[in-house]
Symmetry: C2
Subunit: 229 residues, 2 copies
């Protein structure tokens, strides 16, 4: 039987590299994106381009409106903070953190995996350039995997184990970019900006833009990102 995996795909730099890696490892990839009330659709368009490019078996965009809860600059009218330089990023959990977002995303991935009879889930979390989000840490991923193995048929029937793959978790942004380029990723197709324009143009000043830009500099690879003029 084919090796199936559910791959969480936002259309940004990390998850695009993730999809390329899962494909390279021989998985039949079921790409999952979310329309969760984020500020722009540009990243979903990027996700569609990327899913097509890497031959995902299916690409589902699930509608989950997290705006009913609020509490984040990414899902409400709170402004996305902009900085002059990457040195201005603080140590605190930023206002762009969406409460329990990765828990929700992984729960949906788990549901789809169970329907597909798949036990592999890929998520592009990163513990280094991770902007201080609690749900990007290795201990969270391990705990989710434990829980997932009790949550589903697997936990009752004991036939297999669910595995959450996080190949990017210990990589720097520069290393992620180098790995992606080696696998044929065109980062011009991707959108990482928290506050992108309708055409996907990046603001250049949010946390995500600053981390991404530095990644290209450190990787010594030309930055193909479309920036707003």
């Amino acid at each position: 039987m084919e090796k199936r995996a559910v791959v969480l795909l936002s259309g940004g730099l990390d998850s695009t590299t993730l999809l390329a890696m899962a494909k390279d490892e021989g998985y039949d990839c079921y790409a999952l994106s979310f329309r969760y009330g984020q500020r722009h659709e540009a990243e979903l368009e990027a996700a569609q381009r990327v899913a097509n490019k890497f031959g995902a078996a299916r690409h589902v965009i699930a509608d989950i409106d997290l705006r009913v809860f609020g509490g984040s600059a990414l899902t409400s009218d709170i402004a996305v903070p902009k900085h002059e330089s990457i040195d201005d990023l603080g140590d605190e959990i930023p206002i762009t953190y969406v409460p329990a977002r990765n828990t929700i995303f992984l729960s949906f991935a788990l549901a789809w995996a169970e329907v597909l009879d798949a036990t592999n889930i890929f998520i592009g979390v990163n513990a280094l350039d991770y902007s201080g989000y609690p749900d990007c840490r290795p201990e969270f991923i391990e705990a989710f995997q434990e829980m997932a193995n009790l949550a589903t048929r697997i936990g009752v029937e004991g036939t297999d184990r669910c595995k959450i793959h996080t190949p990017l978790i210990e990589m720097t942004k520069a290393e992620i970019i180098q790995a992606g380029v080696a696998l044929g990723v065109d980062y011009g197709m991707t959108v990482s900006c928290y506050d992108a324009a309708d055409d996907g143009g990046a603001c250049g000043g949010c946390d995500s833009c600053l981390l991404r830009r530095r990644g290209f500099e450190q990787a010594q690879i030309p930055d193909q990102t479309l920036y707003q003029s």
Copy 2:
């Protein structure tokens, strides 16, 4: 400060009793329901009636379409199995099981709790009359709680602990009904049927109806359920 809790409320017998219990324990209750692609809206109307009745601080119905994944009689065109008698219920996980549903529901509750600065979540899972669902077992709940404490600000800031309350987990259906009646629950307001009519009329033959009916019999309390004629 008020004690806030997020209470998962389907509008059925168990979750209605749960809300009455949380209220009785002095919590300010934030009731959360889901329009997840279930076969009927009658249970959501029941949830609204119940949230009003018990003075929930807010009642949110989150839209999450689980039909994109399929795999359950509750979210697809697969027929809901009907039985002549409760003795016909099998030991296997039934087709009415919705993959990872409680994981998804609890993840949303966790998101809202974090926004509300609440650390208490109530879910009406039951390990006895539980119809064989993996995500109703105590070991699943414990694993979810562990994960939740790593998933959110709490896990980083270490200020408090998230608690998943499952007061019904060891109770029989009859005991749940007796507890609810003692707290003033009118079970005629609730809808448990997997295949209810538009007016909430219960089919009387699905797993959920059979377990509910036996509960009233064993509790020796008149069954106020509206059955389809």
